[in-house]
Symmetry: C2
């Protein structure tokens, strides 16, 4: 650190001073307002887990496509009733349906095609094998009266009618949905692709986590691996931009790599605050439009959002997240995550908000709402019928203390003092 005389008599003008403070709600609205779902692409059903459909999927065939037995047993005519019958043949699943001669029954497996002429199934437990007669003809005794035609038979289209919308546009594809696609032969679907998110750490003091020993004044890079993990969890793809030192050149070079790598979103941590070396806001101003540079929240105040236009595709969305690790992950969850969801076609990308009961005392901040990291669990209410979500604090909330996010599953929104604290809300 060289001794450096400032060249001017003017008060130091730091970049952050130019921005007025927006609320968290305004920040989310602004960021979502600039975010459009990515252009849908074709996906194989095998690669579609976790994606959101961009168009309705219709059933191409009915399910079942043929009258199928629900049981292992005998295909019968319901009117024939109990008695001893010759077993005309065996109708296993996967075989062509045959025709049942009058006065006979056919062995049938679960899923087997009901023979022409048969209209019901008697499960094997309700029958008695009678061996074979003189001519080698197998016989079976039907022990019960069948309730009526159609008994233990799945009719054509009874599970899924041909042409029915089996999955609507906007639906999220979970394992059952992958099965639904497979079962109806919808092997290619139009869905929103996974966004590409480039992640950059900045700071002369920031060293790779694998550094054997830290030099004086150095820290290990917490943010990059953490945010790349959060991006993966959000269903997006990551591009690792490494660490840039506190120079505009290094940040600009990383910026180019994000653009060349086809990123939809870029996350930069550090360098967005009041410091003389906080280059990120000026850099974003030079490249595009900065929509906000200060948010009324604790932690996370320096959160910055910009759009950088480019030819032939949607603007690059750039989030300048505060360097403090907690601030980075909190602002990611509150503001970036909804945008990653919208890029992936979510109709309702906001965080879930529910009321929670605090099991600890809070101190409200005078100026900013606090996002207190907590561990929530549902408990039966004392003397009542209902449940309540009880939140435990994760301890000291200073924004450098990442342990305050250990095992946390809630962000408690604690209003600032000037608001009535009547209840507390959280986003999970």
């Amino acid at each position: 650190a060289a001794r450096l005389a400032l060249p001017t008599m003017e008060p130091v003008r730091t970049p952050a001073a130019n921005y007025s403070m927006v609320s968290v709600a305004e920040a989310v609205e602004t960021a979502l307002g600039a975010t459009r779902p990515l252009p849908p692409q074709d996906f194989s059903y095998i690669d579609a887990l976790g994606l959101t459909l961009a168009e309705d999927v219709l059933a191409r065939d009915p399910i079942p496509a043929y009258r199928a037995s629900i049981k292992d047993g005998y295909a019968v005519r319901a009117v024939d009733g109990p008695g001893v019958y010759p077993v005309a043949f065996e109708a296993f699943a996967g075989a062509e349906p045959e025709t049942l001669p009058p006065g006979t029954v056919a062995y049938i497996g679960t899923g087997g095609p009901l023979p022409e002429g048969a209209d019901a199934v008697v499960q094997i437990e309700d029958t008695l094998d009678q061996g074979a007669d003189d001519r080698g003809q197998r016989l079976v005794k039907i022990l019960v009266e069948v309730p009526g035609p159609g008994y233990d038979v799945r009719q054509i289209g009874s599970d899924v009618a041909q042409g029915e919308v089996i999955l609507p546009a906007g639906h999220h594809l979970l394992p059952a949905e992958i099965g639904i696609l497979a079962g109806s032969g919808a092997v290619t679907v139009k869905a929103y692709p996974r966004p590409r998110v480039a992640v950059l750490s900045t700071g002369d003091e920031v060293k790779d986590p694998a550094a054997v020993a830290l030099g004086p004044g150095q820290v290990r890079d917490t943010n990059r691996a953490m945010l790349m993990a959060a991006v993966s969890e959000a269903g997006a793809l990551t591009q690792d931009l490494g660490i840039a030192g506190d120079t505009e050149e290094e940040s600009t070079a990383a910026f180019r790599r994000a653009l060349d790598g086809g990123a939809d979103v870029m996350l930069i941590t550090g360098g967005v605050s009041m410091g003389q070396r906080d280059y990120i806001k000026p850099l974003l101003e030079a490249q595009g439009t900065v929509h906000f540079g200060k948010v009324c929240m604790k932690p996370g105040k320096p959160l910055t959002f910009a759009e950088v236009p480019r030819e032939g595709r949607a603007p690059l969305l750039v989030f300048g997240l505060p360097g403090n690790p907690v601030s980075g992950l909190v602002t990611f969850n509150l503001v970036v995550l909804p945008c990653l969801r919208r890029l992936q076609g979510w109709g309702d990308p906001g965080l879930r908000r529910v009321h929670a009961r605090l099991s600890f005392d809070i101190k409200q901040d005078p100026a900013r709402p606090e996002y207190h990291r907590a561990i929530g669990s549902w408990r039966r209410m004392a003397g009542g019928d209902g449940w309540e979500l009880v939140a435990q604090s994760t301890g000291g909330q200073i924004s450098s203390r990442l342990l305050s996010l250990r095992a946390a599953n809630l962000l408690l929104e604690i209003p600032r003092v000037s608001h009535s604290p009547g209840y507390n809300e959280l986003s999970a």
Copy 2:
């Protein structure tokens, strides 16, 4: 389907007849009892998202490792108080700490190392730049009294003490935890690896989902892609064993491929019921020990579980799941999923159980508890303070109708008629 006279006068002896019915709780207990956590392995923190730690992780360095500024501003001696001071030097993050000459202050960035001699920080907003004096010495006016030594300074080890357990054995690694590992240089951790799960569909009627048109009596393979997706969601790795026809040879060959591929678990769908072609139970009896072959549940009755011993490693755990797609995914969630969690070192691998209010009428089954697929959401209770989980049915519950799992997030456990239905529980 050839006409085939059975060679014996004896009543048909189907494999399932040999097994007595166990309860779901017994089935889970038996399967978990045979399941041991996999031997822990070393993982890079970068690949550890979603894993469970097999040993405590200790902080190798304190965080911060040096006295660090919380703000952009000036490093001062708290006793000095307001006044105009020469700016001796600049202490940016990443630089070596210098010594502050008496009667001076130093510019300091957020995260910068506090100079020797300084004991507090005054944020830049509470200062006024005074330009330079005749000799070019920069001057700054400190406007406020600092509350005391240590103000806006993070002391060494204040976030994390050296040697502290930052993450205990058994902890799940989510994004914050990845950051915690990175930040403390724990770049290699001992964790439970992802189990390898081989998935096989069986049935002569079962065709690849991509089949352009189905022949008579054929169905598309719903189970394999659906279960592979469920296995991935559970954090495990998949091995695709394809489709085996209804012969012992094809199933045995698939079985070999699972063993050769190093599978920890094998999932087989179909062929476990009462049918003449249901080869799976006899095959498992020949290869190892079948622990149960019938479970008192609807759907899922034919669920089968076996251990197949092998040299030099834990037995292969084999689940014979019913062929009906709904039965396959329901039994996966209720019985297989806890085992996949235990293999991955979860201390508490069971499903969460909570009470839910039904928004629809149920018909209880006379013989078996039913696992009704439902969509649950938390609602504020009318006239009360609490919340309740309200469950909507997904419609017709026949076990071939996979649409009954569309968007479902609950399995309602509906007791059989002989039990008092006082309340209903669910697992999610």
